[in-house]
């Protein structure tokens, strides 16, 4: 495997060069700090920063206690389980001091000096100021302690050998807190600080190399998360309607925008968390991201000839009319109480990757039980693979004015199979 041999090579070169990064041992264990040790305003600020960093989502497994870890993260190198970051002394980080926590966030080491896997995106958290990290520390240390041991990581050699990560860090970890750009506005800088640092948007929205690091020159050009496609949010953004700051702010805070579509899949918990964050901060992030996307003209809507996909597109039209048009058509047959984002404008049908549309069509969009939110039912089982491919071909040609995606049936089967495996 290319990545493995690269890493092994690196490790050997590092070893023979005699350069070893000395592990830093942690401070004497601190007594677990209770609420009284922290200022209420600092805790509140830490809560907001933690929401931007989305700590809870990774550090909580489905059905598990908040921050107690155990979420399985699939990486190309194997499965990594998120850690218990509650203040439990034995199984969590209750014994960690403020500087232990800072070192984890900035340097990617635990309090015993062991390297942490960059699935924990310390390459982004290195940007966060000490003050902000300390506020997050105050918040984390005042959560309920939970006694919970997480499963051991399942990584193949040599990835399971933590000292290897020193080499990874040498190549890919840029240290240093974010430095504002004096030529830019305060709002832009605030946005940049949050996006580059805590928001760690690039961690999903950037393609990664064989070493699992973000590919710098394709930064924010589109990536992966949990079997979904994380759309490009740089100049390559496929959104047919250019974003405005208002729209992107709304999207990030409420999980949808009526000109662009709905957050779904891994983006759903991000939007949930960001709903707790002051609007000014989200606005700043939107301002920065819009600058990254650059000025765009609306996509020219030129019809695409279906060509050799014609019969597929035609049968897709019939499937759409009977299955989707009730909610997704704006004509007389639409159900009066349902409002959907005009399909032609939804970013996901314009993306180069069909997986997001497939996920949504197969699984639907469901809020958490008891929560209000858009409900789109899933159509897995209602449509055969063939019918699904025809439907998507029609949607691409008719609504996106783009050629159909290839290989839709196989990708649909992969998604279904993966879901079935994970549900067992």
């Amino acid at each position: 495997m290319k990545a493995r041999s690269l890493l092994v090579g690196l490790a050997m070169s590092v070893a023979t060069a005699g350069v070893l990064i000395t592990p830093v041992s942690g401070d004497t264990p601190a007594a677990p700090a209770g609420k009284r040790a922290f200022d209420a305003t600092v805790i509140a600020r830490g809560a907001q920063l933690s929401a931007i960093g989305n700590c809870a989502t990774c550090h909580t497994r489905p059905g598990g206690q908040s921050f107690a870890g155990g979420l399985a993260l699939e990486t190309p190198f194997g499965v990594i389980y998120s850690t218990n970051i509650t203040p439990d002394v034995e199984t969590g980080i209750g014994a960690w001091s403020e500087s232990d926590f800072l070192r984890a966030m900035h340097d990617g080491v635990d309090r015993n000096g062991r390297n942490l896997y960059p699935a924990f995106p310390y390459d982004h958290f290195a940007r966060v100021t000490d003050d902000d990290v300390n506020a997050i520390y105050a918040f984390i240390m005042t959560r309920d302690p939970v006694r919970a041991t997480v499963p051991a990581n399942r990584l193949a050699f040599p990835m399971n050998f933590r000292p290897m990560l020193s080499a990874w860090k040498a190549l890919y970890l840029e240290k240093g807190v974010y430095r504002p750009d004096p030529d830019r506005s305060a709002e832009w800088n605030r946005g940049a600080y949050l996006v580059e640092g805590l928001g760690h948007c690039g961690a999903c929205h950037t393609p990664r190399n064989a070493m699992g690091a973000e590919t710098k020159d394709l930064y924010l050009g589109g990536g992966e998360a949990e079997g979904w496609h994380a759309t490009a949010i740089n100049a390559s953004s496929p959104a047919p309607v250019p974003w405005t700051v208002d729209q992107l702010t709304r999207y990030l805070r409420q999980g949808w925008d009526d000109q662009h579509g709905h957050a779904a899949g891994p983006m759903t918990p991000v939007a949930h968390e960001l709903a707790e964050v002051p609007e000014a901060d989200i606005r700043a992030m939107a301002t920065y991201l819009l600058a990254v996307m650059g000025r765009k003209e609306p996509a020219a809507m030129r019809a695409v000839a279906p060509g050799r996909d014609e019969s597929r597109v035609q049968s897709g039209a019939a499937i759409f009319a009977g299955t989707c048009a009730g909610c997704h058509d704006e004509g007389a047959s639409a159900i009066s109480s349902i409002r959907t984002v005009p399909l032609a404008q939804t970013t996901s049908i314009h993306a180069p990757d069909p997986r997001n549309v497939l996920h949504i069509v197969l699984e639907g969009i469901w809020p958490e039980p008891g929560e209000k939110g858009v409900v789109m039912p899933g159509f897995e089982g209602a449509l055969t693979d063939e019918q699904l491919a025809s439907l998507l071909a029609y949607v691409r040609v008719h609504f996106a004015n783009r050629p159909p995606w290839p290989d839709v049936s196989r990708q649909a089967r992969d998604i279904i199979q993966h879901k079935n495996e994970n549900e067992r």
Binding site: A56, D144, G370, K372, V374
Partner: protein, 743 residues
Amino acid sequence: MNSHDAERHALSRREFLAASGALIIGFSLASSSLRAQNSPGPKLPGSLDRNPMLDSWIRIDADGSISVFTGKAELGQGVKTALIQIAAEQLYVPPQRIRLITADTRQTPDEGYTAGSNSMKDSGTAIMNAAAQVREILIARASERLGVAADRLKAQDGAVVTDDGRRLGFGELVGDSLTRVRADGQSKLKDPVTYSVVGKAMPRVDIPAKVTGGAAYVQDLRLPGMVHARVVRPPSYVARLRELQTAAVEKMPGVLKVVRDGSFVAVVAAHEFEAIQAMRALAAAARWDERATLPDQADLYSYLQRLPADNIIDLDRQASPSPGVRSLEASYRRPYQMHGAIGPSCAVGLFKDGALTVWTHSQGVYPLRQSIAEMLHLPDDRVQCIHVEGSGCYGHNAADDAGADAALIARAFPDRPVRVQWMREQEHLWEPYGPAMLTTAKAALDSAGNIVAWDYEVTSNTHSMRPGGAGNLLPAWHLASPFAPAAPKPIPLPEGGGDRNAIPYYRLPSARVVHRFVPAMPVRVSALRALGAYMNVFSIESFIDELAQAAGADPVDFRLRHLDDPRARDVVSLVASRFGWSSYTRAPGRGRGFAFARYKNLGAYIALALEVDVNRERGSVRVMRAVAAVDSGQAVNPDGIRNQIEGGIIQSSSWTLHEAVEFDRIAIRSADWSRYPMLRFPEIPESIDVHVIDRPGQPFLGTGEAAQGPTAAAIGNAIAYATGARIRELPFDRTRIKGAIGL
């Protein structure tokens, strides 16, 4: 004995006489089978008082087949099965031999509405006594025919038998014995010790068809020549139709007629989907004038508080003042909440030869018939309403309105049955909701920690706008010559509406309870299961816990200290014991909560303990386990009781954790389940245990609405225990919980 005790004594004595008079005066009737026609006498048991002729209730044909008639309706609460059990028991026949006919203006007694958890008390008691009397009449008949003394005869398996094996079937005996016979409430009822059917968990008679696709609902009715209709409802309460071009829709496939009367618009088509598509086309073509008439939802409670109200003093008892050393005050709030039947309302109407038949799942076929007759300017006897089961309605939902729709459309499209089915959004937006309510409780404790003074105020709209009158039928409001809704009226105690269960069942030396009845109804409201009891029991049982805490007392002990009724104490103690209340240990994020109530202070007794899990980061709450004890008097079908209580706990959990109708200044916006979420499978508890305390021979107390209020309070109490946060506004949604817990 202080006045509070006397009051409760009086209540129990009255109910005792009303229901159990027949138990103590039991003598068999050896001779004449005719009764005096003109004896005023004491009140007859249950609904016999209003419908005293025996053959209104029971008919036995010459072939021995037995029909029992009830004015009550099966709503899914198992009443059909329970009434069959009662009749079968008193007639000494296997239940399978009983054919039960429910609510039908052509053939059953008028028992008003199937509501208020009164079916067992009203209809069960009537049928029990009527069946006993019929049995005695038949035995008397057999005695004459066989020359054997009545006390040597017995009823068995649909016949009267002698001890030497002679047998005369009911069918051979009946002749016209039952006609023109008046009930007398004097018959000897079976000794409960000998019950073989009542008190047993007989399987429900309607379930097998429901799990195998049998026809079971009004939605399944298929009459010859039937056509399908849909109504186009206005987009908001006061919207008026300004413009509608119907020509294009009239030409759509299958469309038979477009009906228009003022702002009432409907379409009739041969096939159901054709009707739906035509409805959507009509809706898209219609132009309405709308106005903003709704309050600002963010300001709802102060708005309600400011509306003019009639002060109704429900209780004002001032004992000699006892020094209170500690006083507490708390206010509670409850939003509009919806019935939310899974199956939107439906009805079939047939207008033929100047007469109308409506098949409907209305809870009251007689009042509906009278209202529809008024709406169509017909005499009552030209309209028949026949109850056919719908999906659970949980009170006054849109069933009557759908019946009225069917009537109007059938009149416009006569001679063929017309089936009207409401859409989901129509049911969500137009059904009458449970009213928003505010309550304030104040109490004083003495130095021993007992309550010495109590003051409670509840502000609420009416909880009943049932037809009674065309003006309470939704479609009648939209006609070119509309009917106006009747002026709302409070339901008097002891039943109560907004003040149902506003008077606590506890011993309170001084107590004042005021019902601020608000006539103005910006949002359409009516009876939702338990009526005001949901909010009043929530408020009172939350406040009792707050008082217990102030008194430094355990919540169960505190309640027992203030409860004298032994049956109340029994349910409380049983639950505490089965839940493991005194051995409960604290675990992170977990809390226990308790509640007690006697529905309407004269219905079923229920105590409930439950455990919740609170996730403070997400603000989510899940009920993990619940233990309940219920005393419904003589249990007719204990499994039916358990089913209703389990269901009530889950339904109330949903109301309490998630539900509030949303609206803006112009219209209701909770159009479907995405905007008004309900509890789903991942949230259900791990266990619910319901213990039924059977009281053989005691009056039936009903069951269906007992659990709603206590569940809400127990959840609130459990959250307070787990987090220290006392939440007084329903529902306990995530935002409210996170806000209450803080960081």
